[in-house]
């Protein structure tokens, strides 16, 4: 039964993405397409945290670090390599290695959960401060100036593979983003149904019991943390193609935001955080349009109320309601 339900959910996700990819570009004008691409990129980032925190039990305050690294790696790669198709593996490799290195230091260093939150936060802050101070001429990698506070506005967008001359149009980039979101969702489903995924979830449930059954808890945590890092890097690459890379990608705001989305969407689920990400970004945007109300006030109050009212987040509460109705 379990296998059938997971397959159905994956199929539904792919179908929804296909419909959106085909229908939306015809309906929305260009500006909303670009915004939708930003929403999708941020949803992939939220998914990476849903996997690492929701299933791996690792509350990481630093997903923005891998998000930024992915973006910057893509920008530097694209500027140095003519065909941006080769920038994609670079954009994924750098955050993956960074996540593996940071993960190794933390999990093999016996760091407790609270301190892990602080370390990931600190690493993100270090990267922000560092990148923010690379405005000088001497900070360049090959043909790509890091640009410090300015970021790298002249990042070439993805181009049709093999044909550096024709960059993808914003509509095509939107379709690529949706494909990445659906692909990551299905990948998460596959991982969680695999033996590796089951052990990761078991470790979240009870780390000692898992190690007493012969599983090296540090290795599995490192594995899921690295996959999360790669996914966050992918989100960074997508972001670099619809906005542009700048130090703000490493800022506290991004790390904090996605924690809010996963929390409200529902920790321990995949679909919840994605919906949470879309809804809350729309809410933030709508709040921005109100003449004299500051969006932070609304978002802050929404979060406080959500925490007090829905301890385990939107989706499980809804799912809980559904299950209660189904139960005999």
């Amino acid at each position: 039964m379990e296998r059938r339900r997971a397959a159905f959910q994956s199929g539904l996700a792919v179908f929804a993405a296909a419909v959106a990819a085909w229908w939306l570009p015809q309906v929305l004008e260009l500006f909303s397409i670009i915004n939708a691409t930003v929403y999708t990129a941020m949803a992939v980032l939220a998914l990476s945290l849903a996997l690492v925190w929701g299933f791996g039990g690792i509350l990481c305050f630093g997903q923005a670090a891998f998000f930024g690294l992915g973006g910057y790696a893509y920008a530097v790669g694209a500027l140095n390599v003519g065909d941006t198709t080769w920038a994609i593996p670079i954009a994924l490799l750098v955050p993956t290695l960074a996540a593996a290195a940071l993960g190794y230091v933390m999990f093999y260093g016996r760091i407790s959960d609270v301190y892990m939150g602080v370390i990931t936060l600190t690493v993100t802050l270090i990267l922000f401060n560092f990148i923010n101070s690379t405005a000088g001429e001497e900070w360049r990698i090959g043909a790509a100036p890091l640009g410090g506070f300015n970021g790298i506005p002249a990042t070439p967008p993805l181009n049709v593979p093999g044909d550096p001359g024709t960059p993808l149009t914003p509509e095509q980039i939107f379709v690529v983003a949706l494909a990445c979101l659906a692909g990551c969702y299905v990948l998460c489903k596959l991982i969680l149904r695999s033996h590796f995924g089951r052990v990761v979830v078991a470790i979240r449930e009870n780390e000692l019991r898992a190690s007493l059954l012969g599983y090296d808890v540090r290795l599995y945590k490192l594995g899921i943390f690295t996959i999360g890092g790669a996914m966050a890097g992918l989100a960074g690459m997508l972001f670099a193609n619809c906005v542009f890379v700048s130090p703000t990608m490493f800022s506290l705001a991004y790390s904090g935001q996605i924690i809010i989305w996963v929390m409200i969407g529902g920790v321990g689920t995949l679909f919840g955080p994605v919906v949470g990400a879309m809804l809350l970004q729309a809410l933030t945007a709508w709040a921005g349009t109100l003449p004299d109300i500051n969006p932070n006030l609304i978002l802050g109050l929404v979060l406080v109320v959500a925490v007090l009212a829905i301890p385990r987040g939107l989706q499980p509460t809804l799912a809980g309601l559904l299950r209660r109705r189904e139960a005999p």
Binding site: R204, E205, N206, R209, S211, L213, G214
Partner: protein, 245 residues
Amino acid sequence: MTALLATENLTMRFGGVVAVDGVTLSIGERELRCLIGPNGAGKSTFFRCLTGQYRPTSGRVLWRGRDIVGLEPHAIARLGIGIKTQVPSLFDGLTALEGVALGVRRLHGEREARRRALAALDRLGIADLAGATVGLLAHGQRQLVELATVVAPEPDLIILDEPTAGMSAEETAGTAALIREMSRDHAIVVVEHDMQFIRAIAETVTVLHQGRVLVEDTAPVVLSDPRVHDVYLGRPPEARQAVPA
């Protein structure tokens, strides 16, 4: 014949306190050994030194002749040792079957793991709990599920830390029967301080007192040894002579 598991004057010191003081014992293949002693005798500390949760201050722990001090708990478990901790340690969010199958899955394929897990649950008479979420089960049922989790991968040695804690007399008797039946194909070390339970299992018993081995003999001898009673009642054992068997 090298012992399955042996310790050579194993010592564990916390600052000034010596919890385990030079304990030497050895356990053969398929032997059922009980380790008893009053509270604070160092039983749990000794147990944690075996499982790798503590790194002993000095001395050696030999698994089939190989020193395993310093190995991570998961490495020790992979040698073929099933470990049940004093506080029940289970996957509350998973179903009983999923939790039990997980241990076996490390050694066998998906389908085989499920089959063996169901078999283990059945052997413990709790096959009906297979689909139940462990977190919602009663205490006694959780102990049985944990036993199944430990037994399912068919380890060569099973170490149990107070398996009957919090059990009713009737459940304790049931567990004793189970352990006797399991000892046919596994070596078992049981750490307990429940006298009735030890009498029911009636195998070799080692008595620990203040971190040292006080007596090591068959159950009937040990249970009638007045020093053991003194130790449990808090009188210093040295006051008496060893009563000849």
